[in-house]
Symmetry: C2
Subunit: 217 residues, 2 copies
């Protein structure tokens, strides 16, 4: 049950990390429903993957379930939570206090999982000084270095994205959630996850049309 | 150069469709930068995949580039756009007129790619009758059947998600973009794409911590 050494852990493939976050969400749901034990088949079904994939993903981090008995939900939830560092608080800086930024600042899912938005910055003097969820919006031109944030969220207009991202990186942020359409290259030290809403709609458009063709070819 | 028959196209793997949407975004950027011809290596680099992956994804849809000469950007952009049905308008219904819904209604990327939000529904009497981006918010309890929307966007609180999703499905929507944390099972006729913001932060939290360990083990 020991934690494998760092050298091994750092070779965990990116899709495995992404799926672990999905397993975490499914396990949290099961915990909420007071389910005590879960099979790999059940959790894989909920996560939309094969049971063999689920077991392979877990195998990077040691042994978990008991053969034939399934996985104790609270234990597995704690382990996955620990792997993803969701068992500790993360300080988040938000850039952009428009509608999207305001929606994100009030998003209840963040605080439940330990993500605390502690700073909100905006370039517009009209926004600076306003309060959003009890946080006073500060001017992004006065972003402190170092800021002390673990994660940054970029919710500015696309044309302002590169400059805003650089401000966050200069303040010491190494992990960025990017809601703009900009393609950011911030060097090997910075991880960027893109939430590309148009991308998601494009995939849906393809499926919607395929379904219409299947019904009425 | 002909379009393969439907039977072949319907076997296109899901990740290929998702990557095609990424290629589309990269091609639109190249077009904006007035780049005429692009190599598979260049576009793959921009999309964050291997060149061999890019070529394999395209191969599902016939022949594109000219060996050794690369891909003409305007032509490839039109073809990918046509595969993803981004060359036609899509009527979108939005459920939820809170901060997130308001941000989405004003998102410029949607209209550029042919996604037109034509309806906004909300359950709250306080929201009904208000205008967002020149669209009057209607009551979700009066959602017409059929509505005539191609796509639905779910931007309601998580606890209202299942009921709201069912309203959209009952109105004839077969493709849903889900911003709530709810796990929706809407049957084989409905495609759901989840935008799980906490999921993205969880993946970032893992990377941020790995980077900190690498610097200060």
């Amino acid at each position: 049950m020991g934690r494998p050494p760092m050298e091994k852990r750092s070779r965990v493939p990116e899709p495995t990390i992404s799926r672990l976050a999905t397993y975490f969400r499914c396990l949290a749901e099961l915990q909420d429903q007071q389910v005590a034990v879960v099979s790999s088949e059940e959790i894989a079904f909920r996560a939309g993957v094969k049971a063999s994939q689920f077991r392979k993903d877990l195998s990077y981090f040691g042994e978990f379930g008991v053969q034939g008995l399934g996985y104790p939900v609270p234990h597995l939830l704690r382990r996955v939570s620990s792997i993803l560092q969701l068992d500790q608080a993360h300080k988040v800086a938000l850039l952009g206090a428009g509608n999207l930024g305001t929606a994100l600042a009030g998003f209840p899912g963040f605080s439940r999982w330990g993500f605390q938005i502690l700073w909100i910055f905006d370039a517009s003097p009209a926004k600076v000084g306003q309060s959003i969820n009890q946080i006073v919006v500060e001017s992004s031109s006065a972003l402190p270095r170092p800021l002390g944030a673990d994660l940054g969220i970029l919710a500015v207009p696309t044309q302002a994205a590169r400059e805003a991202a650089q401000l966050l990186v200069d303040s010491g942020v190494t992990a960025l959630l990017n809601f703009t359409g900009a393609h950011l290259h911030l060097g090997p030290q910075v991880t960027v996850r893109n939430v590309d809403l148009t991308h998601e709609l494009a995939v849906l458009a393809y499926h919607a049309t395929q379904l219409q063709k299947a019904v009425d070819p």
